[in-house]
Symmetry: C2
Subunit: 210 residues, 2 copies
DNA sequence: CTTTCATCTGACCATACGGTCAGGAAAAGA
DNA sequence: TCTTTTCCTGACCGTATGGTCAGATGAAAG
């Protein structure tokens, strides 16, 4: 009997190729949208024959769905720092930092998500209605608690979340526009300044005290 | 000689059909992206034969370019209220209100712009480098002036603009996600609350005093 | 070695796409 | 009315796309 924990050579091949394809697909979907992306382009970027893609992912939609799910899970994890915090300055500050860092490291995933939602979320509507809804309810409850404890001003928690999502993801989704206005991609220092600007305005804007 | 001011019957036809096609195109491009949109879909939505579209717009790209230019000009005009103001509370407040209203009235245009920028601005790169750059420089100069006059906190004007753009356009681009979390489209009251929330957080966040 | 099964791939197919074109219909001018 | 110009459209074309499949290749099991 084979040990399922220690991956066999075959499992290694499968995992490596799926990761390779997903990485290429994320980039192509981000650059061209679902309709503009072609399996041939993704195959070329992954360095594999097109037929091989269809061996691992039955259809273009399957592949796209996996890419969207990836970024969604990354975002969900970003809020863990928020839950452990005792107040908005630490909690929301850490969440903003985490989201900004994701925008910097995974701009393509962010774009694919934006593309998906903008077009009516045809493949992840169920996620929005279940996982994201519950997730948001939990975080807005935490914000309401902080408001009740007098740790921040009585702002609408939903609109606050939208502002955080919008602003942090803007640095990924509209990175090209920002780079053009900036005269080139943001440097390390410029990214740090962006983080601080966003944190400063939002934390002051919600009257965070602790 | 024909009077060029009073439009002839032919000019009426041309103007009406171009507007009809542009309206349909904006919707289809917003729903499907450039690659996912088809001339046939746009034609069906406009109620015209596909060949008729090619009579008014030579190529799909020409049509797309016109749609993108439309929303860009609408946005540029939205800042006029800002220029006339004597301080950030009136100026930035009015600008946010105007941008929010556009997100509500022209969500499709906003999505097409987002799509275009996200994919590297292939058809409006020159606009970003010229018109938008100058426009932004003018507005950040105004903000710097207000800061120098002690009318607001010394925030980075560029990142403030990004935050305003990101947040206001989020209500258009991610309107579907917001509607899902909200349990349906935003009501008139909910839109008003959103406007007030955004204005309150940002104006407090930049320490606006006048 | 033999068998088995996952992995891989060139060649192929039906479909749908953007765009063209010849010629008809309608409006404007003479 | 006759001519000219614009407007309109069904039919068509070359191309590119997502997806299929038979069969080759390579790894593991007996």
């Amino acid at each position: 009997m084979r040990d399922p924990v220690r991956p066999s050579r075959r499992n290694e091949i499968r995992q490596a190729n799926e990761a390779l394809i997903l990485q290429a697909a994320e980039k192509v979907f981000a650059e061209a949208g679902f309709g503009g992306a072609t399996m041939q382009l993704i195959a070329d970027m992954a360095g594999l024959p097109k037929a091989n893609l269809h061996y691992y992912f039955a259809t273009k939609e399957d592949l796209y769905r996996r890419v969207v799910q990836n970024i969604f899970e990354i975002w969900l994890h970003a809020a863990e720092a928020m839950d452990d915090a005792s107040g908005p300055i630490a909690g929301i500050g850490a969440y903003i930092e985490a989201k900004m860092e994701i925008s910097r490291r995974h701009p393509d995933g962010s774009k694919v998500w934006a593309y998906e939602v903008m077009h009516g979320a045809p493949v992840i509507q169920d996620y929005l209605e279940t996982t994201l809804r519950e997730w948001t309810a939990g975080r807005t409850a935490l914000i309401r608690k902080w408001i009740a404890e007098g740790k921040m001003a009585p702002v609408d928690p939903d609109h606050l979340m939208y502002m955080i999502w919008a602003t942090t993801q803007h640095y990924a989704d509209f990175g090209h526009q920002i780079a053009t206005l900036n005269g080139g991609p943001l440097s390390d220092a410029a990214w740090a300044a962006a983080k601080e600007s966003v944190k400063a305005i939002i934390l002051r804007g919600i009257g965070a005290l602790e």
